[in-house]
């Protein structure tokens, strides 16, 4: 019955999956030898042919990104892994790095070799100490095993890999903000162009890839393009990690071919919280417009979700049942964006600040129906007006919630307060709030 395809997660049930021995026992570090025996351009071509697309949210083809790096330019190139997983609802890279940091390192070696980079960085968010330990140890062990450093596997390829630990800033998931942060500045997005492929880290050609994207590369090298393209849909190839959370009986990570539906995932996992029904959900984190129970059969691939009016994003499926107040949920997300706005541009800095005030009033039942129109107009003045996509993400849940649940907003206003009991939505609701 299972549509699941564990690849990245295949060895996670081994107690020592995060060690170099554990990884090697399950076939780890065999792809790197194959890749280093190929020409770098052949590696890039293979990744291009696989159709692998960025798993960090934007879905840009990974091989193309690698192909943009100018060659023979006598400049240093850099390979940077975006491990700053912070999008609300997103929880795939963190357990991946905790359970198997070596597959990421193997991907880094292959990617760096392909783009002719001799220096690579993993930029990990700072709020996950134990994951930092695991990746630190994995890098140290890879050096010891001759997989990093000078003359890797005797193939004449040199690579230094540095783990860079962030310090609490969602915006550093935006690749140019990440680069500024890595250079030792405030993590604020840069003007583009120039794009990182031309002037990235230290103004040198740079690839920035998401953890899951990089970690997917060794399997493609090992199993081939045909194996990979056999999974997924026409334009969304391969497998990916879907993260199911919220009001479900069994939350967790599910690795499946792109294009699976929420209905199928719920069937596999065990369904919505017993006795409750699906109200709304995010397909790819809080920045992607919300869906409702009308979208259970939307294929969760880049095109399918987009066609239904949202984005695949990080495939962070946050499920909320009928006990959840959508206004409260949206307010809280908006507070998040306000907190994480870098402050650089006006629409995001001031807009999120204003949106929070408006939503707080609405959640408390203050205001009139005209305020909903004002709210939408504010979103219109913020979305697509800001420096980077953060503010677009902030507007998305508001616009989509008003699209599907306008009446619920009005109900707050007519009740003069929030009609929901927050205790009913908690997991320990049956036990009562102690």
């Amino acid at each position: 019955m299972s549509k699941l395809t564990p690849v990245l997660s295949a060895n996670w049930d081994q107690a020592d999956s995060f060690t170099i021995e554990g990884y090697k026992r399950s076939g780890g570090y065999t792809a790197v030898g194959k890749a280093l025996a190929m020409k770098p351009d052949e590696v890039i071509q293979m990744v291009k042919d696989s159709g692998l697309r960025g798993r960090g949210g934007a879905g840009f083809p990974t091989g193309n990104k690698w192909g943009f790096i100018p060659q023979g330019d006598n400049k240093e190139h850099y390979f940077v892994v975006n491990a700053d997983e912070s999008e609300p609802g997103t929880c795939k890279d963190t357990p991946l790095m905790m359970a198997n940091p070596h597959v990421l390192i193997e991907g880094v070696i292959i990617g760096s070799y392909a783009i002719r980079a001799n220096y690579a960085f993993i930029y990990i968010r700072g709020e996950v100490t134990h994951v930092v330990r695991r990746v630190q140890q994995a890098i140290a062990d890879a050096y010891k095993a001759g997989l990093l450093g000078k003359n890797i596997l005797g193939k004449g390829f040199d690579l230094e890999l540095v783990l860079h630990v962030g310090a609490g800033a969602y915006i550093c998931g935006e690749e140019t903000a990440l680069l500024d942060s890595l250079e030792g500045f405030r993590g604020q997005p840069r003007l583009r162009p120039p794009f990182p492929a031309i002037a990235g880290l230290y103004a040198k050609p740079t690839v920035v890839n998401n953890v899951e994207s990089v970690a997917s590369v060794p399997a493609i090298i090992n199993n081939g393009v045909a194996w990979f393209t056999a999974m997924g849909t026409e334009k969304s190839k391969g497998f990916t990690l879907y993260s199911l959370s919220g009001h479900v009986n069994n939350p967790g990570q599910f690795e499946a071919p792109l294009g699976i539906t929420l209905r199928q995932l719920l069937e596999i996992s065990g369904g919505i919280r017993s006795g409750h029904k699906l109200k709304f959900w995010t397909p790819g984190g809080s920045s992607t417009p919300i869906f409702t129970d009308a979208h259970l059969d939307v294929p969760l691939d880049y095109e399918g979700v987009s066609a239904a009016g949202s984005m695949l994003g990080t495939k962070a499926l946050q499920i909320f049942d009928e006990t959840t107040c959508v206004v409260r949920a949206v307010l809280r997300w908006t507070e998040f964006y306000k907190h994480e706005s870098c402050g650089k541009c006006t629409p995001c800095r001031e807009g999120t600040w204003w949106l929070v005030q408006v939503l707080k009033d609405l959640e408390a039942g203050k205001g009139s129906a005209a305020d909903l129109d004002k709210l939408l107009d504010l979103c219109d003045n913020i979305m697509g007006r800001s420096f980077c996509a953060l503010a677009d993400g902030a507007a998305s849940p508001i616009i989509s919630s008003l699209q599907y649940f306008r009446q619920e907003y009005l109900d707050h206003l007519s009740a003069g307060s929030c009609p929901f009991d927050p205790a009913a939505a908690t997991l320990f609701e049956s036990a009562g709030v102690r």
Binding site: L4, S9, P251, L427
Partner: protein, 208 residues
Amino acid sequence: MAYTNEQIAVMDSIIARYPRKRSAIMPLLHFVQSIEGYVTNEGIELIGQKLELATAEVTAVSTFYTQYKSKPVGDYHVGICTNTLCAVMGGDAIFDAVKEHLRIENDGVTPDGKVSLEHIECNAACDYAPVVMVNWEFYDNQTVQSTKDLVDSARAGNPIPPTRGPKTLRTWKQNSAVLAGISDGLANEGVQAGEPTLLGLKKAKGGA
């Protein structure tokens, strides 16, 4: 306090990791927190000297990132996720209860300096909601009572160990050193993954 020669040498080794030294500012700030508990003026001035930056440039960076603290936090810094999903599933209730329990507000520290409290944003463990972090270690599937027990144990100096992390919870300063890139040798402790992480694999293998 003055930094020892050993500590200065560690700072130099952190700087040496990078092709350009300014990149070392973030690990150096973590390092300062591992020595002093927060970002002190002395730390800022030392980093400025080491990286040849104006002190204003160092504060510009230190104030941008929320993990850098401008005043002391507790030995055990408790972060309760109140982003939407965790909040709805119980994070709000936990946060309110713990504030009342400890009689401190957001960003407060208990008078004994043991425990400080902060509501945090999504910490990438939504399948373990509601999530609480202490010194940025995972405490999964929390309830009001479990978190109260957790902070009580921390105040007593015998904290409950993390769900996915080392066998013993380390202090704020100790963990800050890890974030600065200094290994504490504890990577092998703790589970490789929790149940939700393994659920898909288990289902794929035909598990219940």
